[in-house]
């Protein structure tokens, strides 16, 4: 990788100021994605700002929910007893990211802001929309891992963050700090579908901003389930996955949130699946009806229609886990 300057500020304010140092400046958290991108010349940087000293690395109770610092490692998140008890889908998603080594280094903020895993994006030679080019190579190329939803825009990537999906399902809010102070953004509005204007990014975070916290609302009496369909058990991004969060009214579902992962350029909420659950008991039949509703309107590309079936499987199993019925 190209040589870069390095600075390690100790406050968020200094870190945000350092992002304006001139040239290309990138925040460095766990570095598990950034360093690989720099080594592969997917991008270059003049300065890296290590934000791990500057950002909060604690999980603290807040308003009946939790406030999770962006510098919390995936390992710490997945083993935190409050997270496991209150937001088990989030803990499970974190526990399945990468490998122990990656979870020891990788952070909440880094996972949510990681760049696409698209193999064209990751190759220096393929100058796609996301790198300032004028095409998405997956359209006429190898697209078995690309989007089946939200793929009308210029780029057909799937969002690569495992934490983003439960974050949306639990109704999390992201705290973003910049030169003009802080703003709070609902997780569902943080991630953006690609347009010609924003295609180089996957979210609304500005170049002079840092994601500092994830705020999870008080869980109340929710039940949740999370299921990732994987090509192999270890060490890979899931091929499709789902987080389901429900509240119950007696034996029937009162409200539901169904969010799909690895199928669209953002975490993909399925309101059709949610409607199929509300008012029904959490049975296998309901779960299958919701799964069928979840994949309505899917637009597979030339090589990824298989994702429809595994997405249904993920939805069924996440619902049954929320029901406490998963085998």
């Amino acid at each position: 990788m190209k040589a870069f300057a390095y600075v390690s500020p100790t406050t968020a304010k200094d870190a945000i100021a350092a992002l304006k140092a001139g040239g290309i400046v990138r925040p460095l958290a766990g570095g598990q994605d950034l360093l690989a991108r720099l080594k592969d010349y997917v991008e270059t940087a003049d300065t890296l700002v290590n934000v791990k000293q500057a950002l909060d690395a604690t999980v603290t109770p807040a308003g009946g929910g939790l406030k999770i610092g962006a510098a919390v490692t995936l390992d710490a998140l997945s083993t935190n007893p409050h997270v496991i008890r209150m937001y088990p889908a989030l803990a499970e998603a974190a526990a399945k990211v990468g490998s122990p080594q990656i979870r020891h280094q990788g952070t909440v903020g880094g996972n949510l802001n990681q760049r696409p895993r698209c193999w064209y994006f990751r190759q220096e030679e393929f100058v796609c929309f996301k790198k300032g080019g004028n095409r998405c190579f997956s359209v006429d190329g190898e697209n078995q891992h690309h989007a089946i939803f939200g793929n009308d825009g210029p780029s057909k990537i799937v969002h690569s963050s495992s934490l983003a999906v439960p974050a949306v399902a639990y109704g999390a809010r992201f705290v973003v700090a910049g030169p003009n102070g802080e703003r709070e953004i609902p997780a569902a509005e943080y991630f953006t579908l690609p347009t010609m204007q924003n295609v180089k990014k996957e979210n609304v975070l500005g170049d002079d901003e840092l994601l500092t916290h994830v705020i999870l609302p008080a869980p109340g009496h929710i039940r949740s389930g999370h299921y990732e369909v994987r090509f192999k058990e270890s060490r890979d991004w899931p091929m499709a996955f789902a987080t389901v969060v429900v509240t119950m009214n007696g034996a029937n579902v009162a409200s539901a949130r169904v969010v799909l992962g690895a199928v669209a350029p953002t975490p993909w909420r399925s309101e059709a699946a949610e409607r199929a659950l509300v008012g029904k008991p959490l049975t296998q039949a309901t779960a299958e009806a919701a799964a069928a509703a979840a994949v309505e309107g899917a637009k597979p590309m030339s090589q990824n229609a298989y994702k429809i079936q595994i997405t249904k499987t993920a939805v069924v199993r996440a619902i049954l886990e929320a029901a406490g019925k998963r085998a």
Binding site: F4, Y6, A21, G22, L35, A36, P100
Partner: protein
């Protein structure tokens, strides 16, 4: 196709050497002009800077660029070549070191970030002529073929045993899941880990 690939990689290499060759010069020019005026306080590099690492309990005063990874610092500057550089992308685990008690991919960690931390490499395991129990177990179980992944696997197993002194088979698989053996000696590695930790079929 092969010809094309060669062409592409030849261009990349040329660009790479150009970048490296010019970077020293460019650094000086930039530092003297706009870069320095705007850089945040405490900014280091991009040229070599002093980096003090504590590896296996010993201090190493290195003079390296901020971009140097922990792996390259340990191998090429501290000259401890036990842990191997294979994928250099946080995928294979051959570079696995233990930093402040936790396994990390040294290839995907900047050396400059590990100042003040306790870095352990495979060289730090044996006590004189006496092998660490994990090293003994790898020998007893013949848990290697070509041996290139072994230092990383040994470090991951040491971290496993320190976390779970008597690990279950599931814990062994989970904690060693970040390392790959292209020869496919996985079963022997799992047996070695089980031996090092004592048998627990829990």
């Amino acid at each position: 196709m092969a010809q094309n690939e060669d062409d592409v990689s030849a261009v990349s290499r040329r660009d790479f050497f150009k970048t490296v060759g010019v970077s020293g010069l460019a650094t000086g020019v930039l530092a003297a002009t706009e870069q320095q005026a705007q850089a945040a306080p405490g900014t280091l590099g991009p040229g070599p800077v002093p980096v003090r690492l504590t590896i296996n309990g010993r201090p190493y005063n290195l003079h390296i660029e901020p971009r140097v990874t922990l792996l390259d610092a340990v191998r090429d500057h501290a000259l401890l070549t036990g842990n191997k550089r294979v994928c250099d992308r946080g995928t294979c685990g051959a570079c696995t070191m233990i930093v402040d008690g936790r396994t990390v991919y040294a290839c995907s960690t900047l050396a400059i970030e590990t100042q003040g931390k306790k870095i352990r490499t495979v060289e730090g395991l044996a006590n004189g002529g006496t092998l660490h129990p994990v090293q003994e177990a790898f020998c007893d179980k013949d848990a290697m073929m070509c041996g290139f992944c072994t230092p990383g696997f040994v470090m991951a197993t040491v971290a496993l045993i320190e976390k779970f002194p008597h690990p279950t088979p599931a814990q062994i698989r989970h904690e060693l899941n970040g390392n790959v053996c292209r020869c496919g000696t996985f079963n022997r590695v799992l047996e070695a880990a089980a031996q090092a930790g004592g048998v627990n079929h829990g």
